[in-house]
Amino acid sequence: MTTTAPRLTAVGALRERVIKLAELATTPLVPADYLDIIDPLRSGAELRGRIVAIHPETRDAATLVIKPGRAWRTHTPGQYVRIGVDVNGIRQWRAYSLTSHTHRRDGYITITVKAIPDGTVSNHLVHHATVGTIVQLDQAAGEFTLGTQTPRKILFITAGSGITPVMGMLRNIVDENLDVVLVHSAPTAEDVIFAAELRQLHAEGRIRLVEKHTDTDGILDVGHLGDILDDLTERQTWACGPAGLLSALEQRFIDDGIADRLHTERFRPTVIATGDGGPVTFTKTGTVVENDGAQPLLDSGEAAGVLMPSGCRMGICFGCVAPLRQGAVRDLRTGEVTTATDGDNIQIQTCVSAAAGACDIDL
């Protein structure tokens, strides 16, 4: 160690000097601006990916296979990735659950997207995205995972595209002796994403799959989960789906006194409270917009041309935080009002906050 350290420093110093010179040679740009033309996925580049394949899953869902840049670290099954896609020329950021094996030999990752009505990005990805397109990526994130110690008995309750993070987990479970029950709801049998693979797992006895086709069966009655399985209280439960389903589950688990056994993931914020609204000033750009108290500040800013950082748009990924310099904002999920006076610079999530009076955002 003592012998190599000085040499490393010398190499490091030389490297630093070369970087400095390269920066000077390319000023006012940076070397990366030119290297990006040659290889946008190289190591050291901002994290991006290239769509290498698109597989339709159902009539309104598709799996995108993405070759991530060299900077990609691995993910934990159940996590999501923030992805920036240009839709009609406009960069849009969204978060999608990763559905791939964590150790694919080709290093590719997959996300599975369900087109939601009027969904700008989901419709684009499912119906219009093309192979070869470069997308912006962030490292995987999210707490909706099986944890370090996978429990023996697991219950998954999913609906619609809520299956995607669970599929990410199922594909990565190596222990064949786990007792896994999956209760999945979809409008019809044809709407079940990953239907063939799930039914195969069921046939092999790896999981017990309970399909609920809500067009004919009606929606899952959380109160009657006992009819499906008799050992609910012995299981750790992971649930992902529409807000109504998750709220009902949360209530049931609280009533049963086993709230700590339920893990949920929401894809959209539940708007609880809207406020008075007010003028929003983006202090760096000097843009002032009127916010009605119901629209997220993120949307208001974007509409006014402010370069807003953004991510999941549901209040979980913190990709959109910006300092509230002064004024008041309301959390649309809880109704909670956050106020700041000049110099406070409180970090707020613009995707789930609306104005609760005049406010200054430092963007």
């Binding site: 010179l21 000077l24 040679a25 000023t27 006012p28 740009l29 601006d33 030119y34 033309i37 240009d86 009609n88 020329g89 406009i90 960069r91 849009q92 760096k284 750009t285 974007e302 041309g305 370069l307 807003m308």
Partner: protein, 389 residues
């Protein structure tokens, strides 16, 4: 009611207040239409331009590593000159106007962009976007009218300093990027003791730091990288910067100085309505007619009128809406000032020469020196005709 007053015979005298508001509404509608149709095609355009410019710059600089060989010097210098012009005009100027902010791409955004020009983007955006585009051609407000070193309008008071303004203009053209930096720094205001000293010092440091880096790049590092070709690479870079300066200066002079462009009194813009603002932009700007290549190389500032009406709309759209705008001028009985590059450059230079003298001298000089005779003298006998549609 405030009416818009031009300082010479009012070209808007036939327009009622209602006419002007209708004009404004029509332009607003035109603007809304473009905004609604902005999309993938436009995004692809600017990305292609940026990509092409960077490749051209890289390859030109690579060729210049062997600039000792005259053909390499020529090819590299031409390439680098074009690259620098495109970087400044079609890319830098327009990105910093926020024309591409709607793409929400942090790499192509007015708040993050920096350009290959001595003036730092923040300072330039203030003096250009805020001051010049708001107070276009308002005497005493828009310092672009002569950049504070020249008299380009009869209503600007004459001073003996202006006698040498053809020389000032020529020097400014050669050193244009430094001229812009000095102008954005408001050196004139500082010298008169009317500037915030602290701010001036802070900005001055930024400008000097940027100039130092750019000089080190063009006149030290790249020449050194060229080894035996060091000296010729230096002269190539110097030439490319000079070509860029002369070209951008010429194009920009054509925007507001040529004959037929109106200027306005300070009090005429008090309480100005949206329609009146549009009208002032229409009368205060001049276009350059020419080929698509000319428009591209001028950063589409050849559509100065369209640019001034809609400074933040994507530059690739100006050519598309120009016929509509021109038709609007006709319908409202206004003059769409436009001419070929030689004609407009000659017209602007003529103003610089004639207005170096006090007005009564200038009037006499005007009688004997016509635009056509200057054009002929400079560009040969191509007889550009006056073109006022």
């Amino acid at each position: 009611m405030t009416t818009l007053q031009a300082t010479r015979p009012d070209p808007t005298v036939h327009l009622s207040a209602q006419d002007i508001e209708n004009l404004g509404a029509e332009l607003d509608a035109m603007r809304a239409e473009i905004i609604a149709s902005r999309g993938e095609r436009d995004a692809a355009y600017i990305r292609k331009v940026i990509d092409g410019q960077r490749k051209l710059e890289l390859s030109s600089r690579a060729v210049l590593l062997f600039s000792l060989f005259p053909p390499a010097w020529i090819v590299g210098t031409v390439g680098l000159s074009i690259s620098k012009i495109v970087e400044n005009m079609e890319i830098g100027h327009n990105v910093m106007h926020g024309q591409w902010d709607w793409m929400r791409d942090n790499k192509i955004h007015s708040t993050t962009w920096e350009w290959d020009n001595a003036s730092p983007s923040d300072m330039w955006k203030h003096s250009h976007n805020e001051v010049h585009h708001t107070y276009t051609n308002v005497l005493g407000k828009d310092h672009d009218l002569g950049y504070g070193i020249m008299r380009v309008d009869e209503d600007q008071p004459w001073m003996p300093f202006y006698l040498a303004q053809p020389l000032w203009n020529f020097i400014n053209a050669c050193l244009f990027q430094y001229g812009i930096a000095a102008y954005d720094l408001e050196i004139g205001k500082y010298l008169k003791g009317r500037a915030d000293k602290e701010r001036f010092r802070h900005n001055g440091k930024q400008v000097l730091a940027k100039i130092r880096r750019h000089m080190a790049r063009d006149y030290v590092l790249h020449p050194l990288l060229s080894g035996p070709s060091a000296v010729s690479t230096l002269t190539a870079n110097l030439t490319a910067n000079l070509v860029r300066n002369l070209w951008t200066h010429s194009v920009i002079m054509c925007g507001h100085f040529p004959e037929g462009v109106q200027t306005f009194e300070k009090q005429s813009i008090e309480g100005e309505t949206r329609g009146q603002w549009y009208l002032r932009q229409m009368l205060g700007s001049a276009n350059i007619s020419g080929s698509p290549l000319l428009h591209f190389m001028s950063g589409n500032l050849s559509f100065q009128i369209e640019h001034h009406l809609f400074p933040d709309l994507p530059s690739n759209r100006y050519a598309e809406i120009a016929p509509q705008v021109q038709e609007l001028f006709e319908r409202y009985g206004l003059t769409y000032v436009s001419g070929s590059l030689p004609k407009q450059v000659a017209s602007a230079w003529k103003k610089v020469f004639t207005l170096s003298l006090p007005n009564d001298f200038a009037n006499k000089a005007k009688a004997t020196v016509s635009v056509t005779s200057i054009t002929r003298a400079v560009f040969g006998n191509s007889t550009p005709s006056a073109q006022a549609a």
